[in-house]
Symmetry: C2
Amino acid sequence: MTRSHPSAAPASAATDPTSLHPSRQAAVEADACDPLASLREAFDLTAGLIYLDGNSLGVLPRATAGRIEQVVREEWGRGLITSWNAAGWMDLSRRIGDGIGRLIGAGPGEVRVADSTSVNLFKVLAAALAMVKAEAGPERRRIVSERSNFPTDLYIADTLARTAGFELVLVDSADALSAALDERLAVLMLTQVNYRTGALHDMAALTAAAHAAGGLAIWDLAHSAGALPVDLNGADADFAVGCGYKYLNGGPGAPAFVWAHARSLDRMDARDIRQPLAGWIGHAAPFRFTPDYQPARGMDRFQCGTPPVLSMAALECGVDTLSAAEPLGGMPALRRKSLALTEAFIAGVDARLSAHGVQVATPRAHDARGSQVSLTVPEGGYAIVQALIARGVIGDFRAGDPARGEPDLMRFGFTPLYLRQGDVWDAVDRLVHVMDSGEWRSERFQRQSAVT
Amino acid sequence: MTRSHPSAAPASAATDPTSLHPSRQAAVEADACDPLASLREAFDLTAGLIYLDGNSLGVLPRATAGRIEQVVREEWGRGLITSWNAAGWMDLSRRIGDGIGRLIGAGPGEVRVADSTSVNLFKVLAAALAMVKAEAGPERRRIVSERSNFPTDLYIADTLARTAGFELVLVDSADALSAALDERLAVLMLTQVNYRTGALHDMAALTAAAHAAGGLAIWDLAHSAGALPVDLNGADADFAVGCGYKYLNGGPGAPAFVWAHARSLDRMDARDIRQPLAGWIGHAAPFRFTPDYQPARGMDRFQCGTPPVLSMAALECGVDTLSAAEPLGGMPALRRKSLALTEAFIAGVDARLSAHGVQVATPRAHDARGSQVSLTVPEGGYAIVQALIARGVIGDFRAGDPARGEPDLMRFGFTPLYLRQGDVWDAVDRLVHVMDSGEWRSERFQRQSAVT
């Protein structure tokens, strides 16, 4: 999973690791100078809790509860059916999509919010495969991805490949991707940041390689939208999907988003290719209620059924927490802070936890990691994560498959909107305490079942 | 659309219509004796407003706002990621599904809540077509439905038919269905209650006819779940889907539900047939994160992505409003009240509005109508509905397609949980006022755009 980046040598390779781990006082002083510190005020945080799981479920923005109450009591309760127009419910998908678009290098109107990441991936992958079938010879039948991609992407792709006559080819490491991009490539389908290791792909380079091989590139931004600057149009990607409940802070199971390059829409139009989930909200004129399907011209075609308004409204509040960073430098500024946080965490682990066998599994080069650090420990890590949670630091555990050479991982996500250098220092310190004390060996932290 | 039912002659055919329309006093007295009257207390109703659009968006239950606040502030805000297990979020789909199952003749564990009606229809129709392909000869390639079915069902079916090598055959009236069920039938796909006219199909008879022809039967319960007793297992249907935001009062865009007969699951297992939206939540062991898809054994296979928890929680409150009717006689008792309400509305229209050319488009026979009455008027009706809304009676308008011989319709849904005979009387009275006064001819009620 790790890749060689000569321009960014591992920070701790040649120097004394302890020298890179500051004192708690220095960490707190750094927070006092943080130009993004005010963004933290937008969140309803639990005192004393250090939440390093925003890569799984973002925390609650302060604005959300009040906004949802307004949607429920006023817009639904009083406005009833009229709120579809009067309260702008019909426009939520595009409005929130525009906010997300500014985070991921998409233009106005290029993103829609709808359904789940899995469902949106199905739509765009099916459209992409139909485009390849219509435009290329029968030798282009490979969907290429990584075996370590998030499973739902592989499940969707495998099932689509079976019915559409394609083949899902999985490589075992990112290094093997280039060699897999040949004249058989139909679609390169990748998640930009790996959900296990936090490793970050070079979207522009891999998209260019897919195009050079004659294929298309679909990106899943689940762990990158809101976590780091993404430039879909700049990378010339063909389609993208992403998740609303991680770094976008949209709430549990928040709807997902979908993007297509303008060129992809033109190709669909030219070949009369539909995305297969042709529900009424994606119709050119949904309220004409005609029996014949006519897809909407632009991105609206990627909508399907009636959108879940309550969950959509919460997602809008979540996206607003990122939009609030725009006057402070936006995603580039958030990325600088995110890297400083993960860098500090890595330095702390190197300095204080390597003696316990704790190792960093996430690439150390800045351009090769997302906003997450994953750790390995000889003992596995499940119980260590539980003991750490008991000490007020929430991370999570992802078991590895020994058959695939995957280690067990302790995962820690670093959301620059609300985390501080002091939090990082304390998280390292509490992990040191858990390891030094051996308290994680307690029976109550051991795994109770196969499902974590 | 109307059908002949010799056992239930039109109520107003032979008698003086005015004799069936009681006085307001009699209507209010009937409400005082209504054994279901207490159910109304569960809703946050707007004083003075008569809401006859619960067939489009159900009203807000009183419990919902507080429950959603709890989910947002406590379960998400405080519980964060742990709430997936600790607050039972992972079990919402099955738990709410069990509640819906009691309304539609499905057993425990047979219903799941997920995605939208359109997406769920895609899942079950794709599975059904794959079953037919695996089990029957190439002559079975017809999906039969009605041209007046809700458009999203037709769009989903048409798009699936194109890619799977099937043909969507639409009949122009319910009378023509039987003749269309022959040796070419793959799937009969119908909505039990027509969204325009409120006409009710005989699910058991049509399912039996589909089976006799060697095909499968899929039912969309969008306008019947929570509106009248449904018995999926009793009718021996193969698959069903339905909507959460109409008679289930789940809120705008509430997630939908999906049901499969146990026999259908067995057939999918025997032929290794997947539903195509093979997302991770439908995996046999989603938290093992294996790269290979293995569908869950039971109904969980029809789940796909992470469920939208806020919208799910609101749906649970909505389903609870129907569960509260169980000790009072449940769906049969609600059906009796619903028929009494629609009967009173029809009688009022016959008695007081026929002179204005207002006619009932919904079948008059009880076993041929749902919980809705649609009216035609020579002038079309758009402006009349707007004028009626201005007088505090909310119904809606659905334009007809003259090319298909469809009239414009004014639609009125009657939710027995919260409507009273007095409301019905007042609604008729206000419509009489709108017609007598001619106030609907005012410029402000005329249609502003092609989209209503």
